[in-house]
Amino acid sequence: MVNTSNLAYAYENGTELAFPDIGLTPGKHLLVIGASGVGKTTFLHLMAGLLPPLKGTVSINGTDLNLLTRREMDKFRGENIGFIFQQYHFIKSLNVSDNLRLRQSFPINSNDKKRRQELAKRLGLANHLHKNVTALSQGQRQRLCIALGLIHRPKIIFADEPTSNLDDTNSEKVIELLKEEAKICKSSLLIITHDQRVKSHFQNHIML
């Protein structure tokens, strides 16, 4: 599913960072654990094609990201990858339902209302679909961001510190939710975290 080899990145200040090779088979999950500041997020951005590597290759689902043009990369990312960011990102001028609908519309135009309702129901957002996103609680925002990472049934879900802001109970819940949704969508999960609590939930993990 995701394979990297000899991946390295050079920061603007000249610091170079090399990353271990990973190989993730379809449907399997991977946990990347590392302390703050070791380049976890950079690793994730490299794998998602958001940053250009200094050297090395990333291939997702058999596609070598280095070979894609900028435009093809945008389309590929939109279609195959779902993101769950550490910070909550959504469009503030749209309500919950429209945020989900917007994610469905690109890059392949779809307007699957059933999918939205079903996902919102499972994530406890069914009664909030027509709420303005700014009116949501922190927990609801987090669940909306998870929904935004899953709604288009991506092949791979990159989650960056999904539990860092949560207490033990909620952290458990979110991990279970992610695993469950990934299973339903037949997606692979790649989670990067410094949170040791997450470790016990996944068989595969590497340290950075």
């Binding site: 997020t41 951005h45 945008d74 990102h89 469009i91 001028s93 429209d98 519309s105 890059p107």
Partner: protein, 442 residues
């Protein structure tokens, strides 16, 4: 979901910014379109009204006033001239037609004009009902007058003295009767009640009037309000009721002068046979007679020239506001694009290309410009409507609410281009948006 929907939602998510930008934009648009319409319609109306006549001969005074009063029927006349003297001009070789007009009365604010039927022909006005007038006190009503006052054939009415609706003695002994109603012409004829010269003379013929004394008094008392126009020929009632306040004749009285039999008219409207007349006759009349000749074309041009500088000033102000509104759109978009950097980066992860993000910003700018234009245009037309109510009531001239004109479409184009330039300048940061860094920024 279409990008247009998102752009719209983004636009309305900042109501105060939106309000300010729209306010500035619509203000400038309304100013430009309002002034444009006003000057165009006024100019069009004026040239249509003066078209039939090349020269107007009346009592000495301001030539502009003479044209305004005798041709456009908005001002008070400069005074009267003797029919006998004016008639000599009718035989002049350069003169094709000469139409005498005489007035001084109104019915509910609409002027009653004494003139031969030729006058109606000059404006190509056709009768829609009835016949022309043959006898004194028979009247043909212009279409607007008939419509506004609900006049029907056979209706009779009593005129009031003077040109203003309020005040003034009424000529109870001489009711007018409506014999015909004209088709609309869009010219000043629509606003007039037309009768023959004799009606005017008879209505004011105090020598044979049994209410002579009473009338004489009223005449002087009721018209004190209209001042400012001094008439050198100011005539007094023959019975010796001199104006105690020293007022000259200023409201177009047409009562006969001291010596009976000498008919007076207010002015003579002349169409030339040859352009030479335009060169020679006015000077001849002004130098050799007690009358004054004025050229409507020249006077209207002078008037429009005065108006034109006003139009230019307002347009300048409107342009300045337009530039300020473009600046406000620029600043507001610059601010919101900065604020939305993370949302734009998020959209990049959804698979949107840089070009699509730019399109999103452009759509927002264009929406704003378009809505601003439409609001401003409506506001401008509302202004025209308001002014029309006023001019209709005071001068009998109505302005039309017209559909968008070519020049206004150009204005829309200009505004759209300005808005796009402002948006592009404001959205340069989209081109070097660092998605990875922006998304991980706290």
């Amino acid at each position: 979901m279409k990008l247009g929907y998102l752009a719209f939602k983004n636009m309305v998510s900042k109501p105060l910014n939106l309000l300010l930008s729209l306010l500035l934009l619509s203000l400038s648009v309304s100013l430009v379109t309002f002034v444009l319409q006003l000057s165009q319609q006024l100019g069009g109306q004026l040239s249509k009204n003066i078209a039939p006549f090349d020269m107007v001969v009346g009592a000495k005074g301001s030539p502009l006033q003479l044209v305004l009063s005798s041709v456009l029927h908005v001002d008070v006349p400069t005074g009267n001239i003797k029919l006998e003297e004016a008639s000599k001009l009718q035989k002049h070789p350069f003169v094709q037609t000469a139409v005498p007009v005489s007035y001084g009365d109104n019915y509910k604010g609409f002027r009653i004009l004494g003139t031969p039927p030729e006058y109606i022909d000059q404006y190509n006005a056709q009768l829609s009902k009835g016949t022309l007038y043959n006898m004194p006190f028979e009247v043909v009503a212009g279409s607007s007058v008939a419509q506004r006052l609900g006049l029907q054939l056979g209706d009779s009415f009593i005129s009031s003295h003077g040109l203003a609706a309020s005040g003034g003695e009424t000529h109870k002994e001489h009711p007018f009767i409506v014999k015909g109603i004209l088709e609309p012409t869009g010219a000043v004829v629509d606003q007039l009640l037309i009768t023959n010269l004799e009606s005017i003379w008879e209505a004011h013929d105090h020598g044979e009037d049994e209410h002579h004394d009473e009338d004489g008094h009223h005449e002087e008392d009721e018209h004190h309000d209209e001042d400012g126009h001094h008439d050198e020929d100011g005539h007094h009632d023959e019975d010796g009721h001199h104006d105690e306040d020293g007022h000259h004749d200023e409201d177009g009285h047409h009562e006969e002068d001291g010596h009976h039999g000498e008919k007076e008219i207010t002015s003579l409207l002349i169409k030339f046979k040859s352009p030479l007349g335009m060169v020679q006759l006015p000077r001849f009349i002004n130098e050799n007679t007690s009358m004054q000749a004025a050229l409507p074309g020249f006077e209207v041009q002078r008037l429009m020239g005065l108006l034109g500088s006003g139009v230019k000033t307002v347009n300048g102000v409107a342009l300045a506001i337009l530039l300020v509104s473009a600046l406000s759109i620029f600043i507001s978009l610059l601010k919101t694009i900065r604020e939305r950097r993370q949302e734009l980066a998020l959209l990049r992860t959804y698979g949107l290309r840089t070009g699509q993000l730019l399109g999103l910003a452009l759509l927002e700018g264009v929406f704003l410009a378009f809505i601003g234009f439409v609001l401003g245009w409506l506001l401008g037309r509302l202004g025209i409507w308001g002014v029309s109510q006023y001019t209709q009531a005071s001068y009998g001239y109505a302005l039309q609410i017209k559909s968008p004109e070519l020049l206004e479409i150009f204005l829309l184009g200009l505004i759209l281009v300005l808005a796009m330039i402002a948006t592009l300048l404001a959205s340069r940061s989209i081109f070097n948006l660092n998605v990875a860094k922006t998304l991980s920024d706290v």
